[in-house]
C-alpha cells in the first residue's frame, strides 16, 4: 500500500472536475428523494438560527423598553421553541446526510468489488493486491464525506448566509451595507487563504508520503541498514525527511494562525462599524436599540459559514483525487470475454483436445508452442517436465484464466471459447499445489459457501479423501475455525481439504497440480490414496510429482521448453531413454527406492 502512496496517491488533482463530479452524482441519483428532502429540511433549519437575533430585537424594542413582562416571556418561549426545533431537525438532518453518504459509497464499493471479481488473471498478475484493496477500501471511504457533508452541507451554508442577509436587510438596509463593507476583505482573505492552504496541503501530503515511504522502505530493509552499519547515517537522512515534514506543517500553522485571527478581526471591525454608524442612527432616532442588538449577533453568525466553506473545499479535493483512482479501476477492462452466443453444455462427457495450442503471457515469449494432445473421457493424463517447461501454463488455459494465442482447445469437440466461462468452470475443478484456504471454517472451505453442497455431502467428500479423520479430531470438527491462510493446519491437512473441496463440487474434469513439498510418510500415503479416489471416473490432467500418479496415468506427456517432446506410457517412455528417462532419475527414482524400503 505505501508503494501506492508514493506514486498514484501523491498526485493531488483538481479540486473540482465537472466530468468526475457528474459521474459521482450519478451514484446519488437513486437517492434523489433523500437529497431533495435533506435540502428542504436545510432551508427550514437554516432559518431557525437567524430568526433568533430578530426575536431578541423584538424582546428589546417591544417588550423591555415597554416594560411588558408577559411579552418578554412569550419571546423567551419562542426562542426556546426555535431552539428545540432546530436541535431536532439538525439531528435528523445529520443522520440523513450521513446515511446518504454511507449508502452511496456502499453502492459504489459493492459495484467496484463486483467489477474486480470479473477481472482476468492477467490483471492480478500485474497489479499488486494491496493496491486493489486500497481502491475498494480507503479510496472509496474518502468519498463518503463528499456525499454526506459535501453535497448537502454546502447548501446549508449558503442558505444560512441568505437568511441572515434577508433579516439584516429587512431590519435596516443601510446598516446592512455598512456591516457588509468588510465582506470584500473577508472574501478576498478567505480565497487567498484557501489558495495558500491548498498548496500547503499538497506539500504536507507529499512530505508525509515521503516520510511514510522512507520508513516503510527502511523497515523492510532494516537488515541491510544494520549489516552495513548505517544506523547513524540513516538517522541523519531520516532527520532530513522528518525536518521537511515539520517545516511544511509549521508553514501550515502559520496560515491558520493568520487566518483565524484575521476573520475575528474583520468581524470586530464590523461590530465597531455597527456601533459607530448604528449608534449615530440611534442618536438621530432612525434606528432602535434592538436592531443594533440584533446586528451585533448577526455579524457573529455570518462569519462562520464563510469560514467553513474553505473546509468543504478540502473535502472536495481529496474526494476528487480518490474518485479518479476508483474510476480508473472501474474502467479497467482486463476481461476474458464470454462469447455473444455461447454454446450450452449438456451432458458433458469430458473429452479434451488441445489442437496446435500456442500461448504467451507476453508476446512474443511463447511458453507453450504447438501443443496437441487428446484425452478421452475418464482418462488421466500426467504432465511432466523440468521447472519452467510450461506445465502450469497448460492448466491455466483450460479454464480460460488466460486465452490462447494460437490453436484451439476443445471440450467434447466444442471450442472452449464458445462456452460461457462460468459454465465451463462448473465442470472443471482445479486443485492447485499451493492450497489457498480462506478465513472461515473447515466446512466453508470445503463448500466455499455454496449452500447447495449439503453437510452430508461435505462429510462424504472428506471421508472419501481421508480428511474426515483429522477433521473430526478437531474440537469443533467441521466447524473448526480456519485462521488466515489456514496457518493452524499442516501442509498435508490443507491439501486434503482442497481435495475434499474438489470432490464436493464433483467435477467432470479435474486439473490437479500435485504439490512437491515433502510431507511425512503417513500423510503421503493418505494423499496418494486420496488422489487415486479423486481421479476415478473423471477426465484428469495432472501435473505429476508422484511416481504412483504417473504409473497409473493413461498417458504421460513430457513437456520440455514449451513443447511436447515425448508422449506415452511409463514403461514405453523409460525404454526410449530420452528426456523422460532423465526426469525419472532426477525426480522419481528416489520415490521408488523409498517405496522399496
Amino acid at each position: 500500500m505505501p508503494e501506492d502512496i508514493k506514486n498514484e496517491d501523491e498526485i493531488l488533482g483538481k479540486a473540482y472536475d465537472s466530468k468526475l463530479m457528474k459521474r459521482l452524482l450519478g451514484y446519488v441519483k437513486p437517492y434523489k428523494k433523500y437529497v431533495v428532502f435533506a435540502i428542504l429540511l436545510n432551508t427550514l433549519v437554516s432559518a431557525l438560527g437567524p430568526v433568533r437575533p430578530y426575536l431578541t430585537k423584538l424582546a428589546v424594542d417591544e417588550h423591555i423598553v415597554n416594560k411588558n413582562y408577559n411579552g418578554l416571556a412569550e419571546v423567551a418561549l419562542l426562542l426556546l421553541a426555535s431552539l428545540v426545533l432546530q436541535a431536532l431537525i439538525q439531528y435528523f438532518l445529520t443522520y440523513f446526510t450521513q446515511y446518504l453518504g454511507q449508502i452511496t459509497i456502499l453502492d459504489l464499493r459493492v459495484q467496484l468489488f463486483a467489477h474486480t471479481q470479473k477481472l482476468a488473471a492477467k490483471f492480478f498478475d500485474k497489479t499488486p493486491i494491496g493496491r486493489t484493496v486500497t481502491r475498494v477500501t480507503n479510496d472509496i471511504e474518502s468519498l463518503s464525506e463528499l456525499f454526506s457533508s459535501g453535497i448537502v452541507m454546502v447548501f446549508s451554508d449558503i442558505f444560512i448566509i441568505l437568511w441572515i442577509l434577508g433579516f439584516m436587510f429587512f431590519l435596516d438596509w443601510r446598516l446592512s451595507l455598512v456591516t457588509l463593507s468588510v465582506m470584500p476583505f473577508l472574501i478576498y482573505g478567505t480565497s487567498l487563504f484557501r489558495k495558500k492552504v491548498r498548496e500547503n496541503y499538497r506539500d504536507v501530503r507529499k512530505h508525509l508520503a515521503r516520510l511514510n515511504s522512507y520508513m516503510q522502505e527502511h523497515i523492510s530493509g532494516i537488515n541491510v541498514v544494520q549489516i552495513f552499519n548505517k544506523e547513524d547515517v540513516e538517522l541523519k537522512n531520516f532527520a532530513g525527511v522528518n525536518e521537511d515534514y515539520k517545516k511544511v506543517n509549521i508553514q501550515s500553522i502559520f496560515y491558520y494562525a493568520i487566518f483565524y485571527p484575521t476573520v475575528e478581526f474583520l468581524s470586530a471591525i464590523a461590530t465597531g462599524l455597527i456601533i459607530w454608524y448604528g449608534g449615530g442612527e440611534i442618536l438621530h432616532h432612525t434606528l432602535s436599540i434592538g436592531v443594533l442588538f440584533a446586528f451585533i449577533q448577526y455579524t457573529e453568525m455570518f462569519f462562520r459559514p464563510i469560514r467553513d466553506l474553505s473546509e468543504k473545499y478540502n473535502i472536495m479535493q481529496t474526494a476528487m483525487a480518490s474518485s479518479e483512482r476508483v474510476f480508473k479501476l472501474l474502467d479497467d477492462k482486463t476481461f476474458i470475454y464470454d462469447p455473444a452466443n455461447p454454446i450450452p453444455l449438456n451432458n458433458v462427457k469430458g473429452k479434451i483436445e488441445f489442437n496446435n495450442v500456442s500461448f504467451a503471457y507476453n508476446e512474443p515469449e511463447y511458453v507453450l508452442k504447438n501443443i496437441s494432445f487428446k484425452i478421452n473421457p475418464g482418462e488421466t493424463v500426467a504432465i511432466v517436465g523440468a521447472t519452467g517447461a510450461g506445465k502450469t501454463s497448460i492448466i491455466n488455459l483450460f479454464t480460460r484464466f488466460y486465452d490462447i494465442n494460437k490453436g484451439k482447445i476443445l471440450l467434447d469437440n466444442i471450442d472452449i471459447r464458445e462456452i460461457q466461462k462460468e459454465e465451463l468452470r462448473k465442470y472443471v475443478s482445479i486443485v492447485l499445489q499451493d492450497v489457498f484456504l480462506f478465513t472461515g471454517t473447515i466446512k466453508s472451505n470445503i463448500n466455499l459457501g455454496n449452500s447447495d453442497i449439503s453437510d452430508a455431502k461435505i462429510v462424504e467428500a472428506a471421508k472419501l479423501v481421508g480428511a474426515d479423520k483429522f477433521i473430526s479430531e478437531l474440537t469443533k470438527g467441521y466447524d473448526e475455525e480456519v485462521k488466515e491462510r489456514g496457518s493452524t493446519l499442516s501442509v498435508g491437512q490443507k491439501q486434503l481439504i482442497s481435495f475434499a473441496r474438489a470432490i464436493a463440487y464433483d467435477p467432470r474434469i479435474l486439473i490437479l497440480d500435485e504439490a512437491t513439498s515433502s510431507i511425512d510418510t503417513e500423510t503421503e500415503i493418505l494423499i496418494q490414496k486420496a488422489i487415486e479416489k479423486l481421479l476415478v471416473g473423471r477426465t484428469a490432467i495432472v501435473i505429476a510429482h508422484r511416481l504412483s500418479t504417473i504409473q497409473n496415468a493413461d498417458k504421460i506427456i513430457v513437456l520440455h521448453k514449451g513443447e511436447i517432446k515425448e508422449m506415452g506410457k511409463h514403461q514405453e517412455l523409460l525404454a526410449q531413454r530420452g528426456i523422460y528417462y532423465k526426469l525419472y532419475q532426477l525426480q522419481y527414482k528416489n520415490q521408488e527406492m523409498s517405496k522399496k524400503k
Binding site: 426556546l80 445529520t94 471479481q117 486493489t132 552499519n229 522528518n242 506543517n249 494562525a257 443594533l292 463440487y505
Partner: protein
C-alpha cells in the same frame, strides 16, 4: 496519564517557547474579553447621552481590542502549536533511532504495517495532545477565569443562571465523545474485516474463479459492506447528537440571559449593555467549554497511543556493545571458529543449529549446502550478529564476537542476503551504501567483479539510474549482482554469499566466481548455494542437515563419500543434460 509523563523531557526542551505561549494566551484573552465591555458601555451610553465623537472612540476601542487579541492569538499558534510539531519531530526521531537498533528477532515478529501504524497514527495522536489539547486547555482555563470574574462583577445572579447549563455541556461532550470513540473502534474493526476480506479474495482469486464463487463472494462482501454501514450509522446516532446538544444548551443560556436579564432591565436593576455583554461572553465561552470535553478525549487517546509507543521504546536492543566490548579491536583478520554452537529463534522453538564445530581460516573459502530448512541461513546470520548464538561460542580471530565492537564486526563483514534489498535511490548510491561517501571508481571496479557493470552501462543514466518505482525495475539476477557489488565495495575481511547466484545464469556465475577468487585472495569467503558448480572449488564444503554438519570435505572427498552431496551432484549433472537438450 502515567504514559504521557514520558513526554516531560520533550516539553522541558521547549519550556521557554511554551511559557511565552502561555503569556500570549493571557494577553490575547485580555483583548478578547475587553471587547464586550466596550459594547456594554456603548449601548448603555446610547440609551442616555452619547455623542458622535464618543461613538468613534468606542468603535476604535473595539477594533484595537480585537487587534491585540488577534495578534497574540497568532503568536499563541506560532508558539504552542509550533512546539507540538517540534516535539513530534523529536519523538519521531527518537522512535526511529530506537527502531533501527532493535534486533532482527523483533522485526521477524512484527509486521512493517504494524510498526508504520505506530509511527504514524500513534505519534499523531500524541501530537494532537501536545498541540491543540495543551493550547485549548490553557486557553479555556484562562478565558473561563477572566470571563466568569467579569460576569460576576457585572451581575452575580445572572452569572449563576447562565452558567448552569455549561458544566452539563462539557460533561455531555466528554461522555458522547467517549461513546463515539467506542463506536469508532467498532467501525475500524469492521473496516479492517472488510480489508482482510478483500485482501483474501484477491489472493485466492484463482480458487474463486475456478469454483465459480464470484457471486457468493459478492454477496459476502455486500453483507460486510452493509454491516459496515450499520456500524457507521450506529456512530452517527451519537455523533449527530453533538451539534444539536451544543446549541441547545448554549442557546438555553442565552435565552436565560434574555429573559431573566430582560426582567431585571425592566425593573431597572440591570442595563441593556450588560445583557449584550453577557450574550457575547456566552458566545466566547461556548467553544472553550466544548473544547474542554473534546480535550479530555484527546488526552485519553494520546495516553493509549503513548502506551503503545512506550512499549516499543522499552524493547531491548539485545545485540549491542556493552561493558565487555573490547574497544581496542579496530580490525578483523577473518579467522572464524564455531565452538559447540547451537541456535534457536526462541525458547519455545526447536533448535535450528545443534552443536556446530567448525574452523574457517582466514583466506579460505567454505561452501555450505543443504536442503531447504537445514539451517544454512541461520548459520551465516550468526557471523555479523544479526542473531546471537543461544549456546556455545562463536569466535573471530580468537575473540568471542560478543566482545568485538559491533561496528567493527559489521564493517568487516560483507553479507549478501538471499533476498536482495535495494533502496529506491540511484545505482551508485545503492552500491556505495556501505561506504562513507559514494565512490564511482570503486563501484565500477567491484561491479566488474560482480559482472553488473555491463548491465549498468546499458541503463539510461548509467550509475545514476534510479532503482525502484520511480526508476527501473531490476531483474532478480541484476538485484543479486547489485547486492554482491554493494558487499564487495566495503572491502570486507569476511564475505558471505547466501545463495546469491540463484537468479544468475551459470555462465555469468562462472565469470563472477573467477573474478571473486582473485578479489578474495586474502579474505574469508563463505558461500551458500544449491549449485554444485558454485561450491565445487571451495576449500571446504559443508553439508548441513537438520541443524548438524552431516558431511564435510572437498568436492572429491564428498563425491567419494556417496552421501547427500554425491546425490545432489548426480542430479545436477542430469539437470544440466536436460537443459542442454533441445
Amino acid at each position: 496519564m502515567t504514559n504521557l509523563l514520558k513526554l516531560k523531557k520533550y516539553f522541558a526542551r521547549n519550556k521557554k517557547m511554551l511559557l511565552w505561549g502561555f503569556l500570549f494566551t493571557l494577553i490575547s484573552n485580555a483583548g478578547t474579553v475587553y471587547l464586550p465591555l466596550v459594547l456594554k458601555n456603548a449601548i448603555n451610553k446610547l440609551q442616555v447621552d452619547a455623542t458622535p465623537h464618543q461613538l468613534v472612540i468606542y468603535c476604535i476601542e473595539i477594533i484595537l481590542a480585537s487587534l491585540v487579541a488577534g495578534v497574540f492569538r497568532f503568536l499563541i499558534r506560532q508558539t504552542i502549536i509550533v512546539v507540538s510539531r517540534y516535539i513530534e519531530y523529536d519523538l519521531r526521531q527518537d522512535f526511529w533511532a530506537h527502531i533501527q537498533k532493535l534486533p532482527m528477532r523483533y522485526f521477524q515478529n512484527t509486521t512493517t504495517g504494524n510498526l508504520m501504524s505506530h509511527a504514524t497514527n500513534d505519534i499523531n495522536a500524541v501530537r494532537n495532545f501536545i498541540g491543540p489539547a495543551v493550547m485549548y486547555s490553557v486557553d479555556t482555563f484562562i478565558r473561563l477565569i477572566i470571563i466568569i470574574g467579569i460576569m460576576i462583577s457585572l451581575s452575580p445572579q445572572l452569572t449563576f443562571y447562565t452558567l448552569i447549563p455549561l458544566p452539563f455541556l462539557s460533561y455531555a461532550v466528554y461522555k458522547i465523545g467517549q461513546h463515539i470513540h467506542l463506536k469508532y473502534v467498532a467501525i475500524q474493526e469492521k473496516f479492517s474485516e472488510m480489508t482482510t476480506r478483500a485482501q483474501e479474495n484477491y489472493s485466492g482469486i484463482r480458487v474463486i474463479k475456478s469454483y465459480v464463487r464470484e457471486e457468493y463472494e459478492n454477496e459476502e462482501f455486500n453483507k460486510l459492506s452493509h454491516e459496515y454501514l450499520e456500524k457507521n450509522m450506529d456512530m452517527v446516532k451519537s455523533q449527530a447528537l453533538i451539534m444539536p446538544m451544543l446549541f441547545l444548551l448554549t442557546g438555553l443560556s442565552t435565552i436565560l440571559v434574555m429573559w431573566l436579564g430582560g426582567i431585571k432591565v425592566i425593573q431597572g436593576q440591570l442595563s441593556l449593555g450588560v445583557i449584550t455583554a453577557f450574550i457575547i461572553y456566552l458566545g466566547l465561552l461556548i467553544w472553550p467549554i466544548i473544547a474542554f470535553g473534546w480535550v479530555m478525549n484527546i488526552i485519553q487517546q494520546a495516553e493509549a497511543s503513548m502506551k503503545r509507543l512506550n512499549k516499543i521504546f522499552n524493547e531491548k536492543y539485545e545485540i549491542s556493545d556493552n561493558e565487555n566490548t573490547d574497544k581496542t579491536i579496530k580490525d578483523i583478520k577473518g579467522d572464524i571458529e564455531f565452538k559447540n554452537v547451537s541456535f534457536r529463534y526462541s525458547d519455545d522453538l526447536p533448535y535450528i543449529l545443534k552443536d556446530i564445530n567448525l574452523k574457517i581460516e582466514s583466506g579460505s573459502t567454505v561452501a555450505i549446502m543443504g536442503y531447504t530448512g537445514s539451517g544454512k541461513t541461520s548459520f551465516i546470520n550468526l557471523i555479523p550478529r544479526l542473531y546471537d548464538v543461544t549456546g556455545g561460542e562463536l569466535l573471530i580471530d580468537g575473540t568471542n564476537i560478543k566482545n568485538i565492537p559491533l561496528s567493527v564486526l559489521r564493517k568487516n563483514t560483507g553479507l549478501v542476503q538471499q533476498e536482495s534489498f535495494l533502496f529506491s535511490d540511484s545505482i551508485l548510491n545503492n552500491l556505495s551504501y556501505g561506504l562513507p561517501a559514494p565512490d564511482l571508481e570503486k563501484i565500477k571496479k567491484v561491479s566488474d567483479i560482480s559482472q553488473f557493470s555491463k548491465d549498468i552501462n546499458d541503463f539510461p543514466e548509467g550509475y545514476e539510474t534510479l532503482v525502484g518505482e520511480r526508476g527501473i525495475t531490476l531483474s532478480g539476477g541484476q538485484k543479486q549482482r547489485a547486492s554482491i557489488s554493494r558487499a564487495l565495495a566495503i572491502d570486507p575481511a569476511i564475505l558471505i554469499l547466501d545463495d546469491s547466484f540463484s537468479a544468475v545464469d551459470t555462465h555469468t556465475e562462472e565469470e563472477i566466481l573467477k573474478r571473486l577468487k582473485v578479489f578474495m585472495q586474502n579474505r574469508t569467503s563463505i558461500l551458500i548455494s544449491h549449485r554444485i558448480s558454485t561450491v565445487k572449488d571451495a576449500d571446504k564444503i559443508i553439508i548441513l542437515d537438520n541443524g548438524i554438519i552431516a558431511e564435510e570435505g572437498t568436492h572429491e572427498e564428498l563425491v567419494a563419500l556417496n552421501g547427500i552431496y554425491a546425490d545432489l551432484y548426480y542430479k545436477q549433472l542430469l539437470e544440466k543434460e536436460l537443459e542442454e537438450l533441445n
